[in-house]
Symmetry: C2
Subunit: 454 residues, 2 copies
């Protein structure tokens, strides 16, 4: 093992099932709630925007869910993704720790997002749906659904947060090349968008607003559904392919990670790498330390409240129980756009409440420092979101050095930074900011939580 660097599974070892953590959790996660009706949401209510198969996965308690052949064949374009030992980073840190990273940037869209975009498009297609609407911030999710759309010959409409639409034209071009239609959000093509534009004509937009527009389109258009890139149970389920592959790769190496790290926005890449290992933790087989890393500017787990809240700004979604900063919370304009979400996946929130994971938050400049060190030692330029996981992995490796511990650290390198060079240029020119976040800003947004009586 000492000599080798990269661990690729033989293709025949690509897992054929996703892992559903709901089968192993003690208790059940609190159900979605419809505040307007004053009672829990029914699966039927979700049929207006999601296909039956995905709703079934959302509520399933089956431990293993078969990956359909059509999805499996597309996964194989870039999966199994490599597990790489960061030997040069270890050397630069002079640490006895062994650092491994799972590299999800090998997908055509450059991140882990296609892992769920592909099955979401597939299940919609076989349920008779030809049109999908979604939102995107920095563009990772929108481009992944656009990619899925081209594979299944579907029409994809993406509401792209206006400031990103203007500042990140290349992600937009990428989506258009894959055949998607892109609107800056807020747009003139939904009632909610029009209302916002009337109120604040020069708004930069937000992810919450874009979600509301996409849902409105799904609800009001024929043969059109909505697709979400994180947060929901079925999204996290699809991402478990990441951790399942890692488990097989570590098995082949005859080792097991002591520490597992992922960045969290909505929680999907973190859940993807962590949940298959959390299974062993629930079953008391292992005591792995598992850490979710969030930006200081959007500290959903570390400073938010575990409470029912809406997933979007217009309150169109059911209320779900999660760590939240309040659906009206608007995070500072950090470059890790994919982590700027006010809530956290209910399943991630639940395992946090159970004490199965920890969470930490980092400022913007130290995460970019970590990203730059990683690029200089390992070569790969990480997405700003992924640099949060790298920062934490580095800090843990330094801790190992100080304590002279040979721990095995695994983190998820969820995407590459090829479309984020503006951020790196700003970093190198000393133009990045560590935004402070006064408690009052959080408290104010938390005042608007919906009333839920179960």
């Amino acid at each position: 093992m000492e000599k080798s660097l990269k661990y690729i599974l033989p293709e025949s070892e690509l897992p054929k099932k996703w892992y559903n953590i709901q089968a192993d959790l003690p208790g059940e996660i609190p159900p979605p709630f419809n505040p307007a009706k004053g009672q829990p949401s029914t699966p039927e209510e979700l049929l207006a925007i999601f296909p039956k198969d995905l709703i079934m996965q959302e509520v399933s308690r089956e431990r293993w869910i078969e990956i359909p052949d059509e999805v499996y064949e597309i996964y194989k374009i870039w999966r199994p993704a490599p597990l790489i030992r960061a030997r040069r980073l270890e050397k630069a840190l002079n640490t006895p720790a062994k650092i491994f990273y799972k590299y999800e940037g090998v997908s055509p869209a450059g991140s882990h997002k296609p892992n769920t975009a592909i099955p979401q498009a597939y299940y919609n297609k076989i349920n008779g749906i030809n049109n999908l609407a979604t939102e995107t911030g920095a563009g990772q999710w929108g481009s992944s659904l656009a990619l899925a759309g081209t594979f299944f010959d579907m029409n994809i409409t993406v509401f792209m947060v206006k400031i990103s639409y203007d500042q990140k034209p290349f992600r937009k071009t990428m989506m258009q090349l894959w055949g998607a239609t892109i609107h800056p959000s807020p747009s003139e093509i939904t009632n909610y968008g029009k209302a916002i534009l009337k109120e604040i004509p020069d708004t930069p937009g937000s992810l919450g607003i874009a979600i509301s527009e996409a849902i409105e389109m799904a609800v009001t258009h024929e043969n059109t559904n909505y697709a979400l890139g994180s947060v929901l149970n079925h999204v996290l389920l699809h991402q478990t392919i990441i951790g399942l592959e890692c488990k097989k790769q570590f098995e082949a190496l005859n080792i097991y990670p002591d520490i597992i790290i992922g960045c969290v926005g909505g929680g999907s890449n973190f859940a993807g790498i962590a949940f298959p290992f959390i299974q062993d933790k629930i079953n008391k087989i292992k005591k792995t330390e598992i850490i979710a890393v969030e930006p200081f500017s959007c500290p959903t787990i570390t400073r938010g409240k575990y409470a029912y809240d809406y997933g979007d700004t217009a309150k169109m979604t059911p209320a779900i129980k999660m760590h939240t900063l309040g659906h009206s919370f608007i995070p500072a304009a950090i470059h890790a756009g994919g982590l700027r979400y006010h809530g956290m996946a209910p399943l991630v929130s639940y395992v946090k409440e159970l004490g199965l994971i920890n969470a930490v938050a980092y400022h913007q400049i130290p995460v970019f420092e970590a990203g730059a060190l990683f690029a200089k030692t390992e070569g790969i330029i990480p997405a700003p979101e992924s640099t949060h996981a790298i920062r934490c992995a580095i800090d843990k490796a330094i801790e190992c050095k100080n304590k002279n511990e040979e721990k095995i650290i695994l983190f998820n390198l969820s995407g590459h930074g090829h479309f984020d060079m503006v951020s790196y240029e700003k970093y190198m020119n000393g133009l990045l900011t560590n935004y402070e976040l006064p408690q009052e800003a959080i408290n104010k947004a938390l005042e608007e939580l919906p009333e839920v009586k179960l």
Copy 2:
């Protein structure tokens, strides 16, 4: 085989030696020539800018050259590169042909260029050199050498063609992130650059000028060498790792390609995939059709002359015998910047003269059409250079359809297009041009070839 899509070699199968085609060629390629001295260049003359080990490789007739451990370990970050069957493209074309592509975009710099940047940096380092100067057009080569520089802790100076420096700021940022120093070329820091700027202050620059500046820096600075990203024998040697892997992958599939395709600028990615197969052709084991694809705007093989010419504009290099359009030829501003070179690798030129390969040239719009179709069917967005190979593969697959032939087609997908979205946006908006190239433009440049009497 029918079911599977991607073929990754087990890491243990990564070739440990490069293949030197000079061992198998009938006859010897014509030697480099020093027009100033009126006699062939000696290996000693090259010591001013290249390390001894690389000069030895340049002139070696050994068939197999060992890959040093230090290089091998870095290769393993992204190698073995996947061989992927383009099933969706086949289906879109309704062809009985089987289309395979070798994907070199998985390297941290996004192309095949690190295959040679890494060993070049390594051999310079062990020969006591800490500083390398080079040129870059679109930025693929410059960023690859910058990457190699960070791995071996060397100072890399890149002269970037001015128009690219201004138009492609992200490749520049990428190189800076890896620690390289970038100058727009022509620059004020070389005599040649200053002279050009005095004559034409608003020149957009050219690859030939940038090469001259980099060589001048290597010649005039202590502990500084020059590194070239294509053309030379040792560069092509390093790239044979591509074809050697392909051979093993096809062996595992128990098939052999009937047609092999690569795009050509200086010739290195084409040579990389083709030379190990040309060995079988020389040995009469196989009759594979091997095709070099060039842009219509820079038709070095299809319309150039096989003659001695300089590699750069300032005539600093030895004259080498190659297909050339003349060292003063300036190709139209096509988006495939990596193919805008007036000459062709002497080894590629030689195998063309021997009838071992063919060449074709394509206009800009049809290659982008091919690139867009590839992105929509296979998901991966190709570099504009690589779209030339795709266009040819598609045309061959259509030919197979018309003749009802089940041929196996292999092409080199030499890089991704993540830094070329401006080109794709122009393509989608109908703003690309098919540049015509009058014969007089070529004839004029060919008048300036050096006189060589052997």
